[in-house]
Symmetry: C2
Subunit: 344 residues, 2 copies
DNA sequence: CAGAAGTGCTAATGCGTATTAGCAGATAAT
DNA sequence: ATTATCTGCTAATACGCATTAGCACTTCTG
């Protein structure tokens, strides 16, 4: 309706019959300077502020102070599309929760266009005091620039050095994977397979590292370093290699393999144990519950947010934190059937 | 680590032997003013910029330009908790999509505590250029203040006047409900019931309005204006009233009623048709698909965001938009069985 | 009763940029 | 030769706020 003219401190000052400086002092004066403003005046100003709903312009504030009590959230992939929703939602929830309790608002950076870049001509990121970065795969050039620069940020998920240590909070996938391997071995599995990528994103590498350091040479019977291959084909390879247990990085693959196996009349876990490395999708999925480990997404996001605030407020040094991933019992890992054992 | 002093245009100017104004003009002068700077000078400045890696401080830039290109998102209920997730996620997705394509970032207001108020002390809504408001039920006092004020906002969901017309984008529930009633009647239903609230939130009122204007006096055999009543009790009432078809506003109630009916050996839709007024939860729910209508949540959110930007950028007048809700075929609405027909 | 200390407030300044008005010199037009 | 136009640049200002120095006045101190 009326012109989109933002209220300024000058307007407030005029309404309250004081100067702009006084308004500013009322809003955020030090206890020292505050004591020089009598209660009467302060209340008069505060009333006008309340009545008008005035809030200091964060841009001007940022110009002079540097801080805004706003945290940026940058996601390399669009955050909400349904496909990604189950992946990002817990993170966003955790970030929101922590931000709220720390008194920060969230600036969701929409990535402006097709290419999501932190450093575009839209460096709007800097409006925030700092930034949480989400995504399966990061742009390493940008990460290096961030590390080199002086803008506070924290990554969710472990990141390799990028011209310096990257502050992050991640899931401790390697030991979690190792633990599952040990569990499989203690069940008697001696012919184990791996299906999934073994390089690329750090999270992938960590899983493979944890797996390979616990599996002996003799025990790893086959590995399929790709995702989304036709399940029957995968199953053929597994069976002909005599695998009694398969570790799968992607839940979707695990589901497909399990389905294929059942179709052939195989029993799980008797004829083939399946272990998934991380609960990628909602846990309440109906039907079979895969043996896996939990990824504490909300806790990771909360910790990352708190770490970020530490960096923003106290210029804290770079921290790197890996959170424990609890094993999920599930019902797809068991002792191999004696029949298969014999064929070995 | 130590706060390295950012390069400013003044530094660039000094290095290039020109004034700050010239640097600014080189960076973003109009073709008009640009033509007044000889190539030689421009290239000298550009070289310095390239060599130093200077980037204009976006904060200062915004300061002088006025708008922040930020849209606020205010939700009356916390947005992310899993219970609400299915309700809010499509909206957030739509908002994000539209904001992105329009070049806006999103400021998620974290609501800071238990009571969510727009005009609280620490709600810094006004950081944004405008605001999208989400929620099942609004605070009418606040809405009135918003309407009276000059802060651009758009509500998602129809809203009654609050001291003036409220700009909104909603779902057109009344005709969608009417259409389902007509469909039921054309199947031969003459004894129809209604289960759900009929007053309160606008969306509720619209459903009841659409229902009651299409159902004749004689056809409405009973109505239960409450939610969450024990399903067996509800079913008793429906059956003793001789209803052949029941309209339910809450999916949860519909599920409960359907379950109770099946338990008693009733067949749906033969013995009892069930119509749900709106797909409140994810459509891909396994099992029975209720006859209902689709709520175009993403489209609503997109339209609301676009409307908001229109208001922010061009000071556009208040608009009110209701989007069509497509009927969902489902399999819980069919012709009443002749047996029941006879009992009538 | 002079000086010190305290009180209540404001003018002035700077943050880094975009933008406008306009200056000095050169060239063209009359 | 005088004015008009163009060229190449810069000074000055505004954006909205936080912050410092300090003014005018009152009250206390010795």
């Amino acid at each position: 309706m009326a012109a989109v003219k933002r209220l300024t401190q000058r307007d407030i000052a005029q309404l309250a019959g004081v100067s702009q400086a006084t308004v500013s002092l009322v809003l955020n004066g030090t206890p020292l300077s505050r004591s020089r403003i009598p209660t009467e005046t302060r209340e008069r100003v505060e009333k006008v502020i309340r009545d008008t709903g005035y809030v200091a312009d964060p841009v001007a504030r940022k110009m002079v102070k540097g801080l805004n009590r706003i945290l940026g959230v940058f996601t390399y992939e669009p955050a909400f599309p349904s496909g990604q929703a189950d992946f990002f939602t817990p993170f966003l929830f955790g970030i929101e929760e922590a931000a709220q309790s720390l008194g920060y608002d969230l600036l969701l950076l929409t990535g402006a266009g097709q290419q999501r870049k932190i450093f575009g001509d839209n460096v709007r990121l800097r409006l925030a005091d700092g930034c949480v970065i989400l995504g399966r795969k990061f742009d390493n050039t940008e990460l290096a620039r961030l590390v080199a620069g002086d803008f506070p940020f924290v990554a969710v998920g472990r990141r390799d050095d990028a011209g310096g240590p990257v502050p992050y909070v991640g899931g401790d996938y390697a030991p979690a994977t190792s633990a599952l391997v040990e569990r499989a071995k203690s069940y008697g599995h001696r012919r184990i397979a791996y299906v999934g990528l073994n390089e690329g994103a750090e999270s992938t590498v960590d899983r493979w590292y944890g797996f390979s350091r616990s599996v002996g040479e003799a025990e790893l019977v086959t590995s399929i370093f790709e995702v989304g291959r036709p399940p029957n084909e995968v199953l053929d390879i597994l069976l002909s290699a005599g695998a009694t247990c398969v570790f799968v990085t992607e839940l979707a693959d695990a589901i497909a393999i399990e389905h294929a196996a059942r179709t052939r009349g195989l029993s799980i876990p008797d004829d083939l144990s399946i272990v998934v490395l991380g609960n990628h999708i909602r846990a309440e999925e109906p039907g079979r519950r895969f043996t896996s480990f939990a990824i504490p997404r909300e806790a990771m996001a909360r910790a990352a947010t708190e770490m970020l605030v530490r960096r923003v407020e106290h210029d804290a040094p770079v921290e790197q934190l890996l959170l424990h991933c609890e094993p999920l019992e599930g019902d797809t890992l068991g002792a191999p059937s004696s029949k298969i054992k014999k064929t070995k």
